[in-house]
């Protein structure tokens, strides 16, 4: 099935390969219909079409590239359908009619096939789209996005594409990056100087992949033959290795910190309710769940009332979740726990019943499925910071959230009249009552504060975990361990314990696996508490 038009294209490509720049690019070199046919063909044809485009990317005229880009985009987004003759571009997937790829004429989508991309095809299409974006993108952002795709698959992109992009680039930053990439692409160049420059260029953006690429060069004959090459490679490799090690260390630190902030958020409310009031609130996990559902409620309200501000719903949910869950907590306190302050073990059972009730109430009223959250840009994705260390926004959100919670809670407890009242009542209830403090009201507010903090935890967890009625049950043992280990009544102790447990888990996990890590940490805490029941930071007191 040799297609003469494609043979011609191949010939042009071959010429390009040889670096014969003199050949003028012409419209005849790129057959739009054949390209469309390729994309509508089977998997092999799709790959061929995309790869051929990439190879020709150095010389094709911009309008051909733009045409190819439209088709490729439509294919990736399932907006390309293939009737028997040609290809149709749809405005949205599943639309009843589309524009003919070649003539732009509007035609109905009847009896058309919508090809699904396999992984190999998807990779090829992605690369081709990246090349098109890099070469024809109207603004630096688009071209930058294209560049980052090309960067990931630089091995499949010919030097001509990079050279053309570098020469055409107007943005200085992008231009430098492309130049570096072009330089790095020359790792197997016959020119020793270019090769050494390529090594340096690869080493300049260290990653695990870069390390693997450089390590592979150690078996190159030049490594033994050429001392300069050897020195360059050794230097580059040690630089990359060091950077990767540092990056991995940062990742461990970040993972530990993010796990610790989740633990802290889950435990902070408990530190107030259990630490200051002595109530074992087994419904704390469910309060977290309610916080997450309140967040969902805010999202839905925004969707209905202010769709334009939808991205801000997470921020708006902070006070809503706090107040809503605090209210639930106050109701629980007023109806149930108020009667049980002298019977802590009974309050434990009562809160267990409350948790059972809340889980099932949500299950029956909202359903058991995971809630659908829209993830605004500030909590989805991440940015590679150094080597392989990626800062993921959702975890950073949680870390920031936890930090803010620490500060705010300490301020409330130490600097506000309510905090003073809470501390007075919890230290000496009778004396506080004698001094005219409304102890009942203070209890209620303190419980509300602790519940509200659980609600905040629910907001912080939305971008990280799946939200469903059962999500709270996983937190209860861990958060009690945090509070007790930290020392009852000490919010700072809770913080330190969360950091310690989070860090220990993350450090042990790669060595022993996730299960054993958790077991080891918990056993450690149990042993410690049996030696020192008052925890890390409790004051010695009369017993």
């Amino acid at each position: 099935m040799a297609d003469p038009k494609r043979s011609l294209l191949r010939a042009v490509l071959a010429l390009c390969w040889l670096g014969l720049w003199a050949v003028p690019s012409s419209a005849a070199a790129f057959d739009r219909a054949a390209f469309a046919q390729d994309l509508c063909g089977d998997g092999a044809a799709q790959v061929r079409g995309a790869e051929d485009l990439v190879k020709a990317g150095g010389v094709l005229p911009a309008d051909d590239l733009a045409y190819a880009g439209r088709l490729l985009g439509a294919l990736a987004e399932r907006r390309l359908t293939c009737p028997a003759d040609g290809a149709l571009l749809l405005d949205r997937p599943g639309a009843p009619e589309g524009h003919d790829a070649l003539t732009s004429a509007v035609r109905p989508v009847a009896d058309a096939r919508a090809p699904v991309l396999g992984l190999r095809q998807r990779a090829a299409v992605e690369t081709a789209r990246g090349v098109v974006a890099l070469l024809t993108g109207p603004d630096p952002a688009t071209r930058g996005a294209g560049l980052s795709v090309v960067e990931r698959r630089v091995a499949t992109v010919p030097a001509a594409v990079l050279d053309r992009a570098r020469d055409a680039e107007t943005d200085a930053g992008l231009k430098a990056t492309i130049a570096g990439l072009a330089q790095a692409a020359a790792l197997s160049s016959p020119d020793p100087a270019r090769r050494r420059a390529a090594i340096a260029a690869v080493a300049a953006s260290p990653s695990g992949a870069a390390e693997a690429r450089l390590t592979a060069l150690k078996s190159d004959p030049a490594y033994t033959a050429d001392p300069a090459f050897r020195a360059a490679l050794d230097a580059g490799l040690s630089r990359v290795t060091r950077a990767v090690t540092i990056g991995d260390g940062l990742a461990v630190l970040y993972n530990g910190l993010s796990f610790a902030s989740i633990l802290f958020m889950a435990a902070a409310g408990l530190a107030i309710i259990f630490g200051l009031m002595g109530v074992i609130n087994l419904a704390q996990g469910e309060f977290i769940m309610l916080g997450a559902y309140a967040t969902y409620g805010v999202q839905e309200a925004f969707r209905r009332l202010a769709p334009g501000l939808l991205d801000l719903y997470l921020v708006a949910a902070i006070p809503v979740a706090f107040l809503a869950v605090a209210l639930v907590g106050i109701v629980v306190e007023a109806l149930i726990l108020r009667h049980l302050y002298r019977r802590p073990l009974m309050s434990l059972l009562a809160t267990w019943a409350v948790s059972l009730f809340l889980v099932n109430l949500v299950r029956v009223t909202v359903g058991t499925q995971n809630l659908q959250f829209i993830m605004p840009a500030y909590v989805s994705g991440g940015v590679p910071l150094y080597a392989d260390f990626v800062v993921t926004w959702n975890r950073l959100f949680a870390i920031g959230f936890a930090a803010a919670t620490v500060v705010l809670t300490l301020l409330i407890l130490r600097r506000t009249p309510l905090g003073l009242d809470i501390r007075a009542v919890t230290q000496n209830r009778d004396m506080a009552a004698c001094l005219g403090l409304p102890t009942r009201r203070v209890d209620r507010l303190a419980f509300g504060l602790g519940s509200g903090l659980a609600g905040l935890a629910g907001v912080a967890l939305c971008p990280i975990y799946s939200v469903n009625p059962g999500m709270g049950s996983g937190f209860i043992v861990d958060s009690f361990m945090v509070v007790v280990l930290g020392g009852v009544g000490s919010l700072l102790g809770t913080l330190v314990a969360a950091l310690g447990i989070g860090g220990a888990n993350v450090l042990i996990e790669p060595i022993s696996g996730a299960v054993a890590a958790k077991v080891i940490v918990l056993v450690g805490i149990i042993l410690f508490l049996q030696r020192r029941p008052e925890g890390l930071f409790a004051v010695r007191r009369r017993r």
Partner: protein, 366 residues
Amino acid sequence: MSGAVQTALASPAGPARRAVRDPLIASLVGLCLAAAAVLVVASPAPYLVNALGQLAAFAILAVSLDLVWGYLGILSLGHGLFFAIGGYVCAMHLLADGVAATGVLPDFVQFMGWKSLPAYWAGLDHSAYAFVLALALAGLVAFVFGLASFRSRVNGVYFSIISQALVYVAMLLMYRNDTGLGGNNGMTGFPLLFGWPMGSPGAITGLAVAALLMLAAVLAGTRLLIGSAVGRRMLACRDDETRLRTLGYSTTRLKLGIWCLSAMIAALAGILYVPQVGIINPRVLAPDLSIEIAVWVAIGGLGRLGGAVIGAILVNGLKFWLSAAMPEAWPFILSGLVLLVVLVLPNGLLDLVALRPRPTWLRGAR
């Protein structure tokens, strides 16, 4: 910040009624014996027999918790661990026995790629050894944990929380496939019970009768204990441990002894439970189940052995019935029942029966 915590450390204001002169226990013991006799004579539907046998096992478990919680003021949220030890050893016995009889290795052993049962299973096909091992193991674990806790005076809610962590750790461990006892799937497919095919009416009735007789024995035994001088010290320790210590008693030893005894009774319940349901898996180690045991005790009547039995039978009987009859309503009924008991009937459902008026000192407590 010490006020609230001191409240938390105080012993539970449990009821102080004297179980010793309690006609309830005698009646329950009689009822168990009568029920066992009825099972043998009338042989009702196997499903009912089996359900009754399971309820008896749960009742034993509830009594074991009531012994430490109601009479010693120690709320264990980890009693599922001892129940599971009994259950696991019993399951190992049944499987080892099956291997000895049929020569077919259990599927999880085949899955682990082992050619025979591991060495530590040696002798488990002997019932007496397995029985002693189950109780001894539960006692030993309880002893080590109790010694560490009671010596450093871990009390009240702290003990509850730490025991909950203990059972949680055990659950994580047993869920690990590499731990070697069937992982998540646990152990199942027991072929024989003393030579009878498992699930035959004879085996089912035998198990239920054994469970009922054991319940009667446990009730009678614990009643004797409660009525003795040791029982009086337990109540004293529950209400004021410091006082008892300053009178020259080693409360650590007292608590440790009762704690180990309670663990062994819980293991006994596990031994009786597993052959009746035909499966053991780490789910019994879930912290929730251990809390539920406390719920049975509280609903029936804390500090009353008879209350524990009634609570366990009532809650589990309702659960068996409602999870088929009114699946949606069961969790709401259970939570409502707990709140009702905690708020209105501090002595559990036995308050409704009002065997005798509440002591005056209890009315004062809020």
